[in-house]
Amino acid sequence: MTRKQRRLILIGGSVGVLALAVGLVLNALSGSIVFFNSPTDVAEKHIAAGTRIRVGGLVKPGSVVRGENLRIRFEVTDGNHDVPVRFQGIVPDLFREGQGVVAEGKIEPGGVLDADTVLAKHDERYMPKEVVDALKKSGRWQEGSADGAGVAKK
């Protein structure tokens, strides 16, 4: 085998693996990423039932209903629109009415979000960035109401 042939095999192999990886990445990006939406986005975008999304906002005061077997229902609001959320399991420690929350799950035909993950802030001084942005968009954000350090999911 000549030097040239060897180099060709090497380059061919590398390009092959890279192409495979690019294919896998593109395939995964089209199938397994989750878009973040504010409650207003959900109301306006008419997201197809069965789509996985993330919704962020505040837990609407008075909307939390706890049921049997750790079932919980609440509404996420950005002040303009609300999204009802259903969840079964343990909500984070600092899940409170009027506080920031991010819920991830599938949107159902009735517009209810069947969440499998609920994230809340982990620090009194901190609010998830996604929630801040959603509130800024809806005009309900007050500067200085959350400062700096803290934790979103962890």
Binding site: I9, A28, N69
Partner: protein
């Protein structure tokens, strides 16, 4: 007084670093021995002054000097001494100080142990180290000074973020930084080689121990972080594909590739340009990791503070070093002479395969981590890329790599015989197949993929054993001779086998915990009992306890197996009044290689408390495997040929660079 001393020491270190950035380069250019030697003393003195500065901050923390803003923000007089000390790096400013301290440690290490390096190479390496150091000293002094005083000293501090008050997290940052920053040595060597315009097999021999040491620390640091997340976050997960975790995984992947390509360079004088590029990329990924974590681009436990000027400063450092080194590479790399030839099927070929898959896997992690940031910056659309993405991209690449792993060490250099190797691996295949069959029968068809994963892990372990047996000539020579030969094998051969076994163990742990675990989430009232995977857990009740700076709500569970009491588990929730935060302390009980895991949720109106219960078989293997990988690295590092400072047969002790240049 003490904080000012620390501040002043850091300024002195910066001054020394500026001298070290310029003097040795001029010395190397004009062959001025005294200017080149200058770097040795400045590197050692830099270490002294940074250590002094770090000690000053530590003293401020230990004595709870709240007149220092940084101490006030992150400490509390009631905190246990150990956390007062670890709070030094439990915040942005202090952790950057730790960063430069470790950089100075490595710089001093090269100065002290690099006696047999050619003097011009050593001078250039230390100069490049100082370029990095200068940038980070400036970053600390201009944007993140930990020694700033408050006009009036408060009586009490604001406490360290409670989830950082944990022994696991106390040692996680230093380990991780030893890894991140350790790769700076490989980077400096690469840049120095590019400036000199020549590189040889000996270069790889000098770079490899440093890279290996950095890699070992990084491996342990990542494992420690993962175990911390596992028991602190209360979800029982060990890896979340969180961008911050990815930031540490990327340098690990490319660092692992670098270790392997350096072997080819050292033994066969091939893959030189690629190895230099990998050394640059690995440290670049460490810098990107620092940027992602420190700039506040990502929200996570690691983003202590979000200050745009810091982000822009680190971004500047990033662009200067990555851009600069890659430009230098593009300009100078074509001048480096190409080395030995090899057939595609050979040991070199297998290591190229390893590099190809590791870097591609690293690329998929890179895309998954940065694509959401790029998309948000360009379109404002927010997305999250989670486990499903990595399962279909990173997963298949890793499986292919792990499958190929036993083949590599058995192939001959230059031209290998794949069929022959496959025949020698027959017994390992058989072990793998038996493992698949046993796993399939034992789990009763829960998952189809998991038994194959188990088979793969056993194939790799058996493959590592075959490698050692083949080298020792087991079954070809008398047993005693084989044992003697095995003991006399190079430590690096043992290191390879042990590290590969470590990978297999981690794989087994991941499969066990992810597919065969059981999980229950229930609301319990006192004296109720819940069954989990053959264990009976009865909830005895809740009690309140007080810690030094928190109060805790402790739930007591008696655990029974087969009717007999086997232990008490006490998950708790701690609330820290200083920050109004609470943390979840999961209770863990070892059952062989698995664990029972309990963590508490909310208390409900009817007096019941929500509890997460997990049984995770084999889960300890995930971290145990990482420790085994690290031991493999340590074995390899102790190999005579790599020992730092050991006399190298047949090499002239430096000082004649002109002769070597002819190589």
């Amino acid at each position: 007084m003490i904080p000012e001393l620390g501040h002043y020491a850091l300024v002195l270190a910066l001054a020394l670093s500026l001298i070290q950035s310029v003097g040795p380069v001029i010395g190397a250019r004009y062959r001025d021995a005294s200017l080149m030697r200058l770097a040795d003393s400045t590197a050692l003195m830099q270490f002294f002054f940074v250590a002094l500065s770090f000690a000053a901050l530590t003293v401020s923390y230990v004595t709870s000097d709240f007149s220092v803003a940084n101490v006030f923000e992150n400490s509390h007089s009631m905190m246990p001494l150990i956390y007062k000390m670890t709070s030094v790096w439990g915040n942005h400013e202090g952790s950057m100080l730790l960063w430069v301290l470790i950089l100075a440690v490595f710089g001093a290490g090269v100065a002290a142990f690099g006696r047999n390096l050619p003097s011009s190479l050593k001078a250039l390496v230390l100069a490049v180290q100082s370029w990095i150091a200068t940038a980070f000293y400036l970053f600390i002094l201009l944007t993140s000074n930990p020694f700033l005083r408050l006009p009036q000293a408060p009586f009490e501090g604001r406490d360290l973020n409670p989830i950082l008050q944990d022994p696991g997290l106390a040692i996680h940052p230093p380990l991780l930084y030893l890894g991140y920053v350790g790769f700076s040595i490989a980077f400096s060597f690469a840049v120095a080689a590019l400036i000199e315009g020549r590189i040889d097999a000996a270069w790889a021999r000098w770079v490899r121990p440093w890279t290996l040491a950095a890699w070992m620390f990084l491996t342990l640091g990542i494992a420690m972080g993962s175990y911390w997340a596992y028991y602190t976050l209360g979800w029982g997960g060990f890896w979340f594909w969180d961008p911050v975790e990815n930031a540490s995984l990327m340098p690990w992947l490319s660092g692992t590739a670098l270790l392997h390509s350096a072997v080819v360079m050292e033994k066969r004088n091939a893959l030189k340009i690629w190895t230099v590029l990998l050394a640059i990329l690995t440290f670049s990924l460490s810098l990107i990791g620092t940027f992602l974590v420190r700039s506040g681009v990502l929200t996570s436990v690691h983003a202590f503070a979000t200050d745009p000027t810091r982000g822009i400063f680190i971004l500047g450092i990033l662009i200067a070093f990555i851009g600069g080194s890659l430009t230098l590479f593009a300009w100078r790399a074509p001048m480096l002479k190409q080395g030995g030839l090899f057939a595609p099927i050979s040991r070199e070929g297998s290591l190229v395969f390893n590099n190809l898959f590791l870097t591609t896997a690293c690329l998929t992690v890179f895309v998954g981590t940065l694509y959401p940031l790029a998309l948000e910056a360009m379109t404002g659309e927010k997305i999250s890329v989670g486990p499903p993405f990595y399962n279909v991209t990173f997963g298949p690449l890793m499986i292919a790599l792990v499958f190929a792993m036993p083949f590599g060490p058995l192939l001959a250099w230059k031209r290998g015989d794949l069929l022959g190797v496959a025949q020698r691996l027959m017994s390992a295949f058989a072990v793998g197949l038996v493992a698949v069959a046993i796993a399939f029968a034992a789990e009763g068809g829960q998952s189809v993929l998991a038994p194959f994963g188990v088979g793969l892990a056993f194939f790799v372990m058996a493959g590592a054993a075959v490698d050692i047996a083949e080298r020792a000539g087991l079954f070809r020579v008398p047993l005693a001779t084989a044992a003697k030969r095995a003991a006399g094998l190079p430590r690096s051969a043992w290191g390879t086998a042990v590290a590969h076994v470590g990978i297999a163990l981690t794989l087994l742990g991941i499969i066990g915990a992810a597919t065969w675990g059981t999980e229950r989430i229930v609301a319990l009232k006192p004296s109720q009992t819940v069954a989990l995977s053959g264990y009976e857990l009865s909830f005895d009740g809740l009690t309140q306890r007080r810690g030094p700076n928190y109060s805790a709500q402790v739930a007591t569970f008696s655990v029974h197996s087969g009717g007999a009491l086997i232990g008490i588990m006490e998950p708790s929730k701690r609330s820290f009044s200083a920050r109004g935060m609470s943390t979840n302390e999961a209770a863990l009980m070892m059952r062989g290689l698995g664990q029972l895991y309990l963590s508490l949720g909310d208390t409900n109106a009817d007096g019941s408390i929500a509890v997460r219960l997990y049984y995770k078989p084999l889960v300890m293997l995930i971290w145990f495997g990482a420790v085994v990988m690290m031991l493999g690295g340590a074995l390899s590092l102790s190999d005579r040929r790599l020992r730092v400072g050991a006399p190298k047969p047949g090499r002239k002790p430096a000082a004649k660079p002109a002769l070597q240049a002819a190589e």
